[in-house]
């Protein structure tokens, strides 16, 4: 009897990454499209690793806000890049988890031996975002398109009313609740009693840590300038709790509102890419192996009816990942918890420390416990860099891989990213 051949698996190596500096919405990249940014990011990666004319196994990337014309965004970007035109590509989208999910997909194919190398990426623009017209106007325009005679066309045009003209701007809102993501986060912040000051502290630390990392050249081989921008323009090296304390809350209501523009991420444009490979491929090319992607997990919560916070899914994903890998929450040298909002990071950690929550919601005998804050987002995170949704995962994977590599062999890092729709993507990297 033929035995089913289980393919042997291996761990995918993270060779390096590249991103363009992130830019606040409608600033440096106001005229750049998703394809422009992703192509430039791929080209920066190609230049760094000498991949001109090379065909990598697969390029996987995505964008959260996408024009209809970008239906094949990643493949089109590959064709515009210096990679060989014979490089296959596909798009993925899992909201803010897109970049990390893309890396997991590439890593899994490498693990299975289906590809030897791959690039995972993500891009988003809130400046060149698709603009929708009102449903009424859309109907008129469609019938105009179908009109055959001049009379028919004029008749169709005559149906346009001034009220139809106002475009529907894209909103960062949950379709099922109509609430902005920040409003959801504010509910969670209130539930977990996350104070204003600790949020501002986390934000200030993020800015200062990232500025210091830039100053010591940490990002020299992770970032390639684009359109004249050399650093993330959201970065405030002189950020302080005192300055942040002066800002008015923008999410939540009344006395208890704590979330400001300073401790929430702004709308941001940018792109990132990570080069993954088998150890053999990297070795043959003389390329480094910074770390391996060990394992990953996704989770989702019912934030509509289930009473769980919109951005709390990673809290559920991490214990599953830890159990499968026989690790405790304390077994890590670095933690990268995506700073969608300072309060999200703080609520996530508080939940892991809470015996009742861990028992009732996570089904654990004991709480996961606390994590050493000095190991958290040590080179800053999204509050400093900004958060172009699909590009954040690639930023974190490449930076963490480099941090682990610098720390030496056998170091471990945990990535936790929350996403719209009540989802979470988490992963373990190891040097």
């Amino acid at each position: 009897m033929a035995q089913s051949q289980q393919p042997a698996t291996r761990k995918a190596a993270i060779v390096g990454g590249n991103r363009i500096p992130f830019a606040r919405s409608n600033s440096a990249y106001a005229q750049a499209s998703n394809q422009d940014m992703l192509t430039a990011t791929l080209d920066g990666l190609v230049a760094r690793f000498g991949l001109q004319g090379e065909s990598v196994g697969e390029v996987v990337a995505g964008a959260v806000l996408k024009h209809a014309r970008d239906f094949n965004l990643t493949r089109e970007s590959v064709l515009g890049s210096k990679l060989a035109a014979t490089t296959p590509a596909y798009d993925v989208q899992q909201a803010c988890g897109t970049g990390l999910e893309a890396a997991i997909l590439v890593a899994n194919k490498i693990a299975l031996g289906q590809i030897e190398s791959g690039i995972a990426g993500g891009v988003d623009t809130t400046s060149d975002a698709p603009l929708a017209v009102s449903e009424d106007l859309r109907r008129v325009l469609i019938s105009l398109n179908g009109a055959k005679t001049v009379q028919e066309r004029l008749k169709a045009l005559a149906r346009i009313r001034p009220g139809m003209i106002a475009p529907e701007m894209p909103r960062n809102a949950e379709p099922r609740t109509g609430l902005a993501m920040g409003d959801h986060a504010a509910i969670t912040a209130a539930e977990w009693e996350i104070g204003r000051e600790e949020q501002d502290e986390l934000a200030a630390r993020s800015h200062r840590s990232m500025a210091a990392a830039y100053d010591r050249g940490f990002f020299d081989d992770l970032v390639t300038p684009f359109l004249g921008l050399t650093r993330d323009n959201n970065l405030r090296p002189d950020s302080s709790v005192e300055k942040l304390a002066t800002l008015k809350p923008v999410f939540g209501t009344g006395e208890g509102a704590t979330m400001t523009a300073g401790n929430s991420t702004p709308l941001t444009d940018g792109a990132s890419a990570v080069l993954l490979a088998s150890d053999e491929w990297a070795e043959a090319k003389g390329l480094p192996v910074l770390a391996h992607l060990v394992d990953a997990q996704t989770a989702a919560v019912d934030y509509v009816h289930g009473g769980e916070g919109l951005l709390m899914a990673p809290v559920y994903a991490v214990p599953v990942l830890l159990a499968r890998n026989g690790l405790t929450l304390q077994d890590f040298d670095f933690y990268e918890i995506h700073e969608a909002f300072a309060s999200t990071v703080l609520a996530t950690m508080k939940a892991w420390e809470d015996p009742a929550f861990c028992k009732e919601k996570l089904g654990l005998d004991a709480p996961l416990g606390s994590i050493d804050r000095s190991k958290l987002n040590v080179h800053g995170s999204s509050l400093a860099a900004g958060h172009p949704f699909a590009a954040t995962g690639g930023r974190i994977v490449a930076s963490l891989a480099k941090m682990l590599h610098e720390a030496g062999p056998g170091k471990r890092g945990l990535i936790s990213i929350c996403a719209a729709g009540g989802q979470g993507v988490v992963a373990i990297l190891e040097s």
């Binding site: 760094r48 004249g228 003389g286």
Partner: protein, 451 residues
């Protein structure tokens, strides 16, 4: 691409005007292109004195597919064909009287030289001549060649190569360089060879095939041209520039299939970081071009410490530190390595407002001279190239008058192009250039400054 004046001077009306007004009449220089023959016409080889190099010269030229004529036909003018080059073997001069032979040979030969022609004089080095009369005759070559260079028109150049006894093997690569289009903007120069084990180039079309070359300041200007030319000659280029120039740097690297490294060469750990990258990714490096450089001009009395220090740090200290780091790290410099350091005409002539810059660039010349013996022991070389007025983004920002004068006060009556500097560097980087060590080659069209 010629500059506006050269284009104008060669246009119909421009020719008339410039001739009538006695204005400079620069021509478009013959520049190297792959596949091009070494010379566009035959060479006449003559000698003054005993001449021990004629056979070597003839063999190298025949090998390169060049027709070699003897002085008899040059004098009589057999078919009147214009000459691509004139080579005088002036080795073995015993005293000034022997120089008459140089005059006898050169005068009629130069008449037949075509535009962008080449005059090359080979001689014994004046130092250690053995007698004052010999030394006088050898040194006379210096004045002779520099003057011929000034008399030649139509983009032609004259240079001299001093070949010490025992360094005959070293001659082939310099001979090819000075006659070829690669040396378009090298004029009035005197190069001294040394004895060395001279490997052959793997392929004259791809002399750097299989080599790894690092170029600093490669994002633009002369550095970008160096990266392109080294790549054209077969090298894999590791292009280095400051992180802020990363976008242009990536473009340069991608255009030539190279690798981009964002690195400030003045960073404390720049040497080790570069070494690590070169060893891990490329198994070491064959060619290092220290090109990155900055100017921070001010009269000395007005110059603050920041201007002084930043220029020294980029232009001189970083070259020293990175070279030392490469020497110290096991396996970083591959056997037969070539280091080329970019100096400047200001480092030779000095320049008002450039005390910091000129000091740093003069320092580079001293550095390569001092390091040459240590490199020779490793079968490696270290040389400097001193560009004159080279048309780049930097010079485009100069006031019109300064720029025009700067570009005309040389024997070729025009500014050089980045590619001219790059060609010289690529030549010094060749395996066959083993016998050129500790030298500073000016790429200045025989500038009047510091000549």
């Amino acid at each position: 691409m010629a500059d506006w004046y050269t284009t104008f001077a060669n246009s119909g009306v421009g020719t008339t005007i410039t001739k009538q007004l006695g204005l400079p009449r620069p021509v478009e220089l013959r520049r190297y292109e792959p596949g091009q023959p070494l010379l566009p016409g035959p060479v006449v080889v003559g000698s003054a004195g005993q001449g021990r190099l004629r056979d070597t010269v003839t063999a190298v030229l025949r090998d390169a597919g060049v027709t070699v004529q003897s002085p008899v036909t040059a004098d009589g003018g057999t078919d009147g064909e214009k000459l691509g080059a004139v080579v005088l073997d002036a080795t073995g001069l015993t005293g000034p009287a022997d120089l008459a032979g140089a005059h006898d040979f050169l005068a009629p030969a130069l008449e037949r030289l075509r535009s962008s022609g080449r005059v090359l004089v080979l001689a014994d080095p004046p130092a250690a001549a053995g007698s004052p009369a010999r030394a006088a005759a050898r040194q006379a070559v210096d004045g002779l060649v520099r003057s011929i260079a000034k008399e030649l028109r139509g983009g032609s150049t004259a240079n001299a190569v001093f070949v010490p006894e025992g360094a005959e093997e070293s001659l082939a690569a310099p001979l090819r360089f000075f006659l070829s289009g690669r040396s378009a903007y090298v004029d009035g120069q005197l190069l001294t060879l040394s004895a060395a084990d001279v490997p052959a180039n793997p392929d004259e079309e791809k002399p750097l095939a299989g080599k790894v070359a690092v170029v600093t300041g490669a994002a633009r200007g002369i550095g970008a041209a160096i990266a392109e030319v080294l790549s054209r000659d077969g090298a894999h280029v590791v292009a280095v520039d400051v992180p802020a120039a990363g976008e242009q740097l990536a473009r340069v690297a991608n255009a030539i299939g190279g690798t981009a490294v964002a690195l400030d060469i003045t960073a404390e750990d720049a040497g080790p970081r570069l070494v690590q990258q070169l060893v891990a990714r490329h198994g070491g490096v064959d060619v290092v071009v220290h090109n990155a450089g900055i100017t921070r001009d001010k009269l000395l009395v007005n110059m603050d410490a920041a201007r002084w220090n930043s220029v020294m740090a980029v232009n001189l200290q970083a070259q020293l530190d990175i070279t030392q780091a490469l020497l110290d790290a096991e396996g970083a410099l591959k056997p037969g390595a070539r280091i080329v350091c970019v100096s400047s005409q200001s480092g030779i002539a000095g320049n008002r407002g450039q005390t910091n810059y000129a000091a740093s660039k003069a320092g580079v010349i001293g550095m390569v001279r001092a390091w040459a013996p240590e490199f020779a022991e490793r079968d490696a070389t270290i040389n400097a190239v001193a560009p004159g007025f080279i048309v780049t983004e930097m010079t485009a920002k100069m006031p019109f008058g300064t720029r025009e004068i700067g570009s005309r006060i040389n024997s070729l009556q025009q500014g050089g192009l980045p590619v001219d500097v790059a060609e010289t560097i690529a030549w010094l980087s060749q395996p066959a250039s083993a016998g050129v060590n500790g030298q500073t080659v000016r790429v200045c069209g025989q500038s009047l400054l510091g000549a």
